[in-house]
Subunit: 143 residues, 2 copies
DNA sequence: TTTACTGCAAACGGTTTGCAAAAGG
DNA sequence: CCTTTTGCAAACCGTTTGCAGTAAA
C-alpha cells in the first residue's frame, strides 16, 4: 500500500485516482499550492482530469482529516494547501515573484505565555508570515 | 477644520459626508471593521446612507493615502479596516466571539535580521496574528 | 466649470453546493 | 448493493467596475 493510499484509507476516506494524484502533486511541490494550480497540474502533468469542485472537495476533506493544511498567506483571498506534517511553521513570501520559503523555526519563544499573562486570553496558536524580496529578485532589481 | 477634514484635504481627497462619516466610525471603533459593518453603521447610526461600493472605494482610496489600513485577519476572505496610526501592531483574535485585541508590542526583536542572514531575503515586514479565547468566552465555556 | 465622487447594477474571482451519474468497498 | 465521490452548472459572497448623474472646489 502506497503512502498516499495509507493516508487516505487510514482516515476512512475512499482511495480514488483524483485524491491520489492530488496528494502526489502536494508531495512533489516545494511550496504550498492553490486549488487552481493543483487543478491544472492534474490535467496537464498527471493526466487525471478532475473538476475544480472535486479538487476543492478533496482538499477540504483531507484538511478535515489533517492530511493537508490550508493556509491563507497572500491576502488576495486565495487559499493555499500543503501536506500537513503537523509541524509548526512560518512562511517567508517574496513580494516580487511569489516564491514561498517555509521557515521551520519559530522566534516566538514563550511569547504566548506572556500574552496570556497580560490579556487573560487562552492562546491556541499564531500565524506569522514574513514578507520581502528573495535573493534572485534582489539581484534583478539591482541591474 | 476637524481632524477628519484635515486628513482628507491634506491628502488631496475631497471632503464628503460619506468619507467624514466613515472616518468617524473608524475613530469610534474599538477594533477593525469590515466594509459591511461600516456600511451598516453608516445607514443605521450615522444616517448617512452610502452604497457599499462607495464604502469600498472610499476605504481603498484612504488606504492608498495611509489614512486607513486594510488588514486580513480572519482568513475567511473578508478584509478589515482601521485608522492608520502607522504603528507596528499585531492582533489577538478570539476564535469564539470574534473580538479583536490590538497588540502594540512586537516579540520579534531582531528576528528579521536573523532571517536575512539565513535566507538572503530582504525583509520588508511581517504579519503576526495570535488566536485563542478571550477571558469572557473562557468563563462561559467553564459553566 | 472642471474634476472628483456617488449610486446602481452588472461583472468578477475564488469557493461552495444541489443533483444525478459513476465508482469504491 | 450501499455509500462516497464525481462532474456539471448554478449559486454564493466579498469585492470591483462601467457608466451616467451629482456634488465638491
Amino acid at each position: 500500500m502506497s503512502k498516499t493510499e495509507e493516508r487516505l484509507r487510514g482516515s476512512g476516506l475512499k482511495f480514488t485516482k483524483q485524491r491520489q494524484a492530488i496528494l502526489e502533486i502536494l508531495e512533489n511541490a516545494e511550496q504550498p499550492l492553490s486549488a487552481e494550480q493543483i487543478y491544472r497540474d492534474l490535467a496537464e502533468t498527471k493526466e487525471v482530469p478532475a473538476s475544480l469542485s472535486t479538487v476543492y472537495r478533496a482538499l477540504d476533506q483531507m484538511a478535515g482529516k489533517n492530511i493537508v493544511t490550508k493556509i491563507s498567506l497572500t491576502g488576495d483571498g486565495k487559499a493555499l494547501f500543503e501536506l500537513d506534517c503537523s509541524l509548526h511553521r512560518h512562511y517567508l513570501y517574496c513580494l516580487e515573484c511569489g516564491r514561498i520559503l517555509t521557515i521551520r523555526s519559530c522566534p516566538l519563544g514563550n511569547y504566548e505565555e506572556t500574552l496570556t499573562a497580560e490579556t487573560g486570553f487562552e492562546i491556541v496558536g499564531h500565524k506569522l508570515n514574513v514578507y520581502g524580496y528573495c535573493p534572485e529578485c534582489r539581484k534583478k532589481a539591482q541591474k
